[in-house]
Symmetry: C2
Subunit: 466 residues, 2 copies
């Protein structure tokens, strides 16, 4: 690779609002989306809410000359709605379905049935390994009384952990609150530095084969405003940069909003508290391994189709031009984690822990409540059996059987579901607690003793397991 | 790290058979297990079927002086049953819950409620990064008529992909049917070689931070015999070596079996076709990045407690001593994938694809059948409503309401479940198809054109998406 290596990457992201029978002008919008993507010829188009596999097949056929590679991520009962079209060959793909994703009995919201997920594509572009993630988190149906807040925080954490795990190295990359900026060489966690001291690179040894991504990209509808806990958690934990905040050349909707009142498909009442709209769709990126990435331009649609008058979806499309270039070898800055510096990430992790802890308590409360209802239902059923056998109010007893059995089965399902929810939330809480424990331990020992510090020793302190 | 660096790792694995109220002598066995683990002081003890969190907490407390780090992997309604005790600090942990894991209406089998999973621990041992996985796949209740075969194959594939994704690099490591042996430097897939040519290591660049594991270890109850499709798929796709087959110093049960007729807790009738027992618990390992790993000794219990007379579980424990040492820089062998050489892995992948394809068809059949039952149930309910309103057979009509509503709800649940199953199996099938497509393409182009071959181009050929 030449020292002046440079790669330009043009991306498209859109939540397509493709609900069969419910979304307006779906077929027409899909057609126009296909035309637009063909005309613009992006490197990568990442789509959400393509709920119908027929729509994907239609787009696939239409786009195949320009985007020969495509994949549809299947999950849940309905599907994740995620798909991707690429001008370049897809080396590998995989997906991770979120453990928690709403409640099955909230049928009118439907998120549970989708099996919301994060999809990963690995592309090799001119010798560069690009890991591109596409996702869609649980919808926010009410900002005032958001019953899905905990699930979205858990999803954001799971997403961040998945990216960290697959692309960035579980023990690598992000330091404590160092405020990484685009293209900077990040500071490393201490364990890595220790390892580097002991394990110098062996020339000729095949360590490159176990290398992760050079560039990580995350696009999608996070259903999170930029200041929301889930969004801050995701960005801080992975060190991903927000294209809207990083670019110097932005054109599009006010404040980069991706749901705007100008869009005729948007429910205007929901946007009333936000005069410019809301920003919930993102292009996030990061370069590792001595590469430098920046966002040259970012465009959004503005409530209208780029060409005709009607919009492509109820969300606005994001179009980014990213530039990746080789970064010259740099000195790895030694970590200088003082208590003050560590605070931003630590406080976010603590906030997330508190949110999940509340969620665990609430899930357990529902499971207990359902347990009592099951007991009551069994009692009622026994009583009705006795009445029906005895005669007298026999007809009434028989009539009440159906709702009693229904009550019992319903409560049983609610019990099982909330038990599972409590387990899922406990898992995320334990992971956060582990991370916070490491931070606390590092803080207690102070910066001067860092290089010899074996992280993670608090595992056995008993506080994490509850 | 000195050139004569060497690390000895002592491991313990046991499926503990810890079902509350059902497993015999549970409390006593847990106590003796704790005593044994304390006495032996392994580096890592990986346990399955610790279904009760109280048992984990008991062991945690008992083992804390010898094993200061511990983690319990929570998932599903009951839990994954997986836990781990480590003498060394745990740097990170995460888990992946299998998409498919039996049927919720098979309550007497219970696997669905457990949320079977794979847990991952990252340990740093003397500058070496060890990724230790522990797992437990769906049980096999009948070998003659195994209705969970497809799910276990899908789980084995998901497990292999998870290990590949997190520890080995999605596009790295395993070549086509090269028959890796313990400690050999593997051949690499072509894309990696291409990348290496274009991307020489930049001295001083921080590429080490995105490095994956040095040593990968997988322990657990796979519920798969060594020749079963799932086991072959897992081993071939990840390149993991089987401690029992690799070691020169084995002592224990005949043929390394982990469920033996000598064990008094084992159902003797189930083992009738297997006079020595069955081998379904494994210690698998692999070294990457210029390390060499071998299994010095492997021991199993033989149906009795190592000290007293009664066994610790219905499974036998595995105790392995692994030795990791630095491997001198070696030449990366150039790939020589002829069609003949490629065949073992390809044929396994094809076999798995066929199995999953059958599973998809069956899941769709069940969903369709349930759809018809829903229609019939609705019709019946309408008829009963009409009869009840009309009088005459009123009482009978009312009496039949409950089973009709039950039928409807039951069929609805079965429909949703099998739709989800079909999606999950389709996903695994698509991943296998992608891999097979790459192999086919490589084969078509022949070995001489390999270095310039961009893999994965078949993505857009339309055959993968069905």
């Amino acid at each position: 690779m030449k020292p002046n290596f440079s790669l330009r990457l043009r991306l498209f992201n859109l939540n397509c609002w493709g609900i069969p029978y419910l979304s307006k002008h779906r077929a027409d919008r899909m057609k126009r989306l296909g035309d637009f993507l063909n005309m613009e010829s992006f490197d990568l188009a990442l789509l959400e809410e393509v709920w119908s596999e027929q729509d994907f097949q239609y787009l696939r056929q239409k786009l195949s000359p320009t985007y020969p590679a495509a994949h549809y991520f299947r999950s849940g009962v309905i599907g994740s709605g995620l798909c991707v079209f690429s001008k370049h060959p897809i080396q590998e793909f995989t997906q991770h379905v979120y453990t928690l994703n709403g409640y099955p009995y909230m049928i009118h919201h439907g998120d549970w049935f989708c099996g919301k997920a994060v999809g990963l594509l690995v592309l090799h572009l001119g010798g560069l390994v690009l890991n591109a993630y596409v996702t869609h988190l649980h919808a926010e149906y009410s900002r005032q009384k958001d019953i899905y807040l905990t699930h979205r925080v858990a999803q954001a954490w799971e997403l961040a952990q998945f990216i960290q795990c697959v692309s960035l190295g579980l023990t690598g990359e992000v330091g404590w609150g160092q405020g990484l900026r685009g293209g900077q060489v990040p500071t490393y966690r201490r364990a890595e530095l220790v390892r580097e001291e002991r394990l110098p690179h062996q020339p000729g040894s095949p360590s490159h084969t176990s290398k992760k991504a050079d560039v990580v990209l995350l696009c999608g509808d996070l259903n999170l405003h930029p200041k929301d806990l889930g969004c801050r958690l995701l960005k801080e934990w992975t060190g991903l940069h927000d294209a809207y905040l990083e670019t110097r050349d932005f054109k599009g909707s006010e404040e980069g909003c991706t749901m705007v009142p100008e869009n005729c498909y948007v429910n205007q009442r929901e946007l009333e508290p936000f005069p410019f709209g809301i920003r919930i769709d993102y292009v996030l990126y990061k370069a590792v391994s001595g590469f430098y990435i920046s966002c040259k331009t970012l465009r959004t649609t503005t409530g209208r189709d780029p060409h005709s008058g009607t919009p492509l979806s109820d969300h606005e499309a994001l179009m980014a031009t990213l530039c990746v270039r080789h970064s010259p070898p740099q000195h790895i800055p030694s970590p200088s984690h003082g208590p003050a510096e560590r605070s931003p990430l630590t406080s976010i992790l603590k906030e997330a822990w508190t949110e999940l802890d509340l969620g665990v308590a609430q899930a357990r409360w529902w499971a207990t409540f359902a347990g009592y209802v099951i007991g009551l239902g069994l009692l009622l059923l026994a009583l009705l059996c006795a009445l029906a056998a005895g005669g007298g109010v026999r007809e009434v007893a028989i009539l009440l059987w159906t709702p009693s059995v229904g009550l019992l089965l319903g409560a049983g399902a609610v019990y099982l579901f909330h038990m599972q929810e409590a387990k899922g939330l406990s898992r995320a809480r334990a992971e956060l607690q582990h991370v916070l424990g490491r931070a606390r331990e590092a803080q207690d020992l102070g910066p001067e003793s860092q290089p010899a510090l074996p992280l993670g020793q608090q595992e056995g302190d008993g506080t994490e397991e509850q």
